[in-house]
Amino acid sequence: MNITVGGEKKDVKDGITVSELIAQEKVETPEYVTVSVNEEFIKREDFDARKLKESDNVEFLYFMGGGAR
């Protein structure tokens, strides 16, 4: 099925979970990533259970610290 990840179209297996997508996309520091699906935050405890659907729009939001030093 086709979904959008970070603005890019991706072909992924049907019913892929958020956790599986995080692993497949090699998300950096997966323990601290924020995930939104169709502009809704997914709770971390739901990552394993939440299955994605055709044309879902997934965004990974990362902590980004740097700035001063």
């Binding site: 970070g6 603005g7 520091t29 323990e31 601290y32 924020t34 939104s36 502009e39 809704e40 935050f41 965004e59 939001l61 990362y62 902590f63 980004m64 610290g65 740097g66 700035g67 001063a68 030093r69």
Partner: protein
């Protein structure tokens, strides 16, 4: 007060813009912006806001200029090594534009001074390098109902978002709590391309100018990201403000600014009396 001839000439490229004009330039001159951190992000932001004629600019930073700063912190020069960053920044800003007032705070921002310092300003820029400070800025701005622009940079990437009270999610709605120390790499550990500080710091300056003048649309409700290696911008639409957010939600548990211990391994340890019991 009418503009002097010098002001008309200095700000002529602003005044000619229909989105700014004389009215907008007057708003900039009456505006008060605080920049937290005179580093990578704060340097270009401070220079452009000074040049733009933002009438009062505050800048807070406890550090001195170090040789390793100069690869990206373009407000400081080799002659400034060892000087407090806020002093070096002020000299450059006033050299660019003596028409403005620069307030310096040579100190660390913490829960004891944040509210008093922020209170006097219209808009805050987060140019800090660590998560305890980023959460402190967010919480103080929510508590004081002040708008601010968050930004972060690392390697060839950068991002920013703008919070305006009542108009979208805050930083904590998105990121909840600071990550444990060293769980997420910093610029010092991972590196950062100098130009990224310029790109994202200038975006923050642009957000401040848009807020003060009312021009265009702010990045409220969006996280804007930039990948410098790909040359790609991406504007992520954020969910609305989280009603369960610990600071901006309907039953907040954070009622005053909190210092997260950066040095401590367990940041939960600093959740002291500043945080009410979570009774949700």
């Amino acid at each position: 007060m009418p503009f002097t001839n010098e002001q008309l000439e200095r700000y002529s490229r602003h005044i000619i813009l229909k989105e700014i004009g004389v009215k907008g330039q007057k708003k900039l001159l009456a505006g008060k912006v605080l920049i937290v951190g005179a580093g990578g992000l704060g340097a270009p932001a401070a220079m452009y806001l000074a040049a733009a004629g933002v009438g009062t600019i505050g800048i807070i930073d406890a550090d001195e200029v170090d040789l390793s700063n100069l690869q990206r912190q373009v407000i400081h020069t080799t002659n400034d090594l060892g000087k407090p960053k806020v002093e070096s920044a002020k000299e450059t800003m006033l050299a660019i534009n003596p028409d403005i007032t620069v307030n310096t705070y040579h100190e660390f921002l913490d829960s004891t001074n944040v509210l008093d310092i922020f209170r006097d300003y219209d808009f805050i820029l987060d140019g800090t390098d660590n998560f305890p400070a980023k959460f402190l800025i967010n919480d103080a701005c929510v508590l004081l109902k002040k708008p601010f622009c968050h930004a972060g940079i690392i390697r060839f990437k950068g991002q920013l978002m703008t919070y305006v009270p009542g108009e979208g999610p805050c930083y904590r709605c998105v990121f909840k709590n600071p990550p444990p120390k060293d769980a997420v790499p910093t610029c010092k550990q991972a590196g950062v391309i100098g130009a990224m500080a310029g790109i994202i710091g200038c975006m923050q300056a642009l957000e401040a100018v848009k807020y003060l003048t009312g021009a265009g649309e702010l990045l409220t409700g969006y996280l804007q990201t930039f990948d410098g290696l790909k040359g790609e911008w991406h504007k992520i639409k954020l969910p609305p403000a989280d009603p369960d957010c610990a600071v901006c939600g309907t039953h907040p548990t954070i009622l005053k600014p909190v210092d997260y211990e950066q040095a401590a391994c367990d940041w939960h340890a600093s959740r002291d009396e500043g945080v009410a019991e979570d009774n949700s």
